[in-house]
Amino acid sequence: MVHLTEKCSAKRHLSLRRVCLALGVGMGMVGVSASAHAQSAPSKLAGIGDSISQGYSANGWLGEHPDFGFVQGTDAAVNSVYSRFKARVPSMAVQSVSVSGAEMVGGSNNAAAQAARICQQAQKPNRVVLELGGNDVCNRARSSGADPTTNMYSATTYRNALKAAIDTLAGCLPQGAVVQVMSMPRVDYLYEAGIQRRGLYCQGVWSLAGICRIVTGETNAARRASVGARINEYNEALGAEVSAAQARHAAKLRILTDWQGVAASGRSLGTYRFTGPDINGADCFHPYSSGQRKLACVAWETGEFGVAANVPSCVAQ
């Protein structure tokens, strides 16, 4: 049933929407109603996110460069979600609340806190893209014990943090708004990607700046894979919460995600295996503008106007 719902969410054409509505009526018995597909015309976009959304180092210079962010950016090299909306709706506005260092769960800039800031905006957006999670992993201390995931949040914690954010948005967004929740990249691939990108330089930067030591400080591949397995659990929890939230807020919001399960390799951010060329050679962590372009493409193609089947071509660019 959940699989059918996701398929419906990805469909754009009227004839297909009728099919989805028909399926939705059937699924109402399990808590997913047809009204989930009612949505308003896009007028304003907001982003909930972290340094990736802030375009950190995306032009090769350390620091935030929001023009290169995959949601709010305006640089042609990125072709952001905002730029793509603007091409369809010239009056489209954007007001992002993303914060470098933010987590889905922890701290004072987490998903729910950023959602609350969106609720404080004078003109509420009717499109929101949420991308978080990397810091939930990278801000946790590396464990020297038998279990490398000891210091990581549980999948339940991760899901409840997302739930708080979606429920907060549901309390203030206009009727028919669309919220898109992006899965989190497998940051455990960072170690191999960094070694491939700049070898000893990246190892030096990671050590000096304490960058994602839970994976960059871990030379044992099996232990890094355990961290990756927890990230898969986060993304599964994210997918489950999106389905549950869609049922809770069906009368008001449409909630989408790119996540299609662990088995759908390369068809979401969470299953894309990034490599050396995808990361920035200066800080050995953040995506360069070409990586931001891939993110924007995946977000767009898994959003209301995209075609999910195009995602593999996004990441192959």
Partner: protein, 247 residues
């Protein structure tokens, strides 16, 4: 339901249509001063502090989840305050405010003790309660978006009592000079300002500090007339400018 609670509910219903938030029963019952008897029952009192230095603050806590359930050192709970959604990871024996102490963690929930009261909080549930805080606990307030409001007079007292609490070394990252915080002591000024071991400080009000110059640079926050101090800091892979405003 007592009369105070009924009043809170009635206010809530009336104001909801105006888009305003009403006082919850917890706020009516729990805001304000603390007496000496309550101070004696605190789990983590400030040594030598009188009742007048404490304040009770009404909050609703939500247990996002738990990790490493059991009584071991690995177990911790992630708890958010629902008015700001700011979270804290709390381990067994640690406190929320000075009064609530975490006594047990399981995969289903946590147990908290508040004086003689024992409270069970299931994962995902809300707990309307009150935190008793010493004025030091609110000397630096994290307002979110890397903005902090600080009270200079309290920072001076904190500095005198707990010290600067840190040491730094000069490093260079991608051709940028920076200070790497090699030590951030619990309770010291640096920790209260939100810094952690390993953080990199690139600039204070636009100037790159030396290890010996870091404390004098941050000491501007002790002056009420300083207005705002800007600190460019990196934590892990992210770098931002933190703003400290006096209040």
């Amino acid at each position: 339901m007592n009369k105070t609670k009924q009043r809170g509910v009635a206010l809530g219903l009336g104001l909801a249509s105006l888009g305003m938030s009403a006082c919850t029963p917890a706020q009516i019952d729990n805001q304000g001063a603390v007496d000496e008897a309550e101070v004696r029952s605190l789990a983590a009192p400030e040594p030598g502090a009188s009742a007048g230095e404490y304040q009770r603050r009404a909050v609703t806590l939500r247990l996002f989840g738990t990790q490493g359930g059991g009584s071991g050192e690995a177990a911790f709970a992630t708890i958010a305050e629902t008015d700001t959604w700011q979270t804290r990871d709390v381990r067994i024996g640690q406190t929320l405010g000075r009064n609530l102490v975490l006594t047990a963690v399981t995969s289903e929930g946590v147990r908290l003790r508040d004086g003689a009261r024992s409270l069970w909080v299931p994962v995902g549930a809300d707990l309307p309660t009150a935190l008793i805080e010493h004025q030091y606990d609110r000397a630096v307030r994290d307002e979110g978006d890397h903005v902090y409001s600080v009270q200079p007079a309290l920072l001076k007292r904190l500095l005198a009592r707990y010290g600067f609490g840190g040491a730094a070394e000069q490093v260079t990252l991608a051709d940028q000079p920076a200070l790497r915080l090699s030590v951030v002591a619990p309770g010291g000024l640096l920790q209260r300002l939100g810094f952690a071991d390993g953080d990199l400080i690139f600039a204070v009000d636009g100037e790159a500090p030396t290890p010996a110059g870091l404390q004098p640079a941050l000491a501007r926050l002790l002056q009420p007339e300083s207005g705002a101090v800007l600190v460019r800091v990196a934590h892990g892979h992210s770098q931002w400018e933190a703003t400290y405003r006096t209040r």
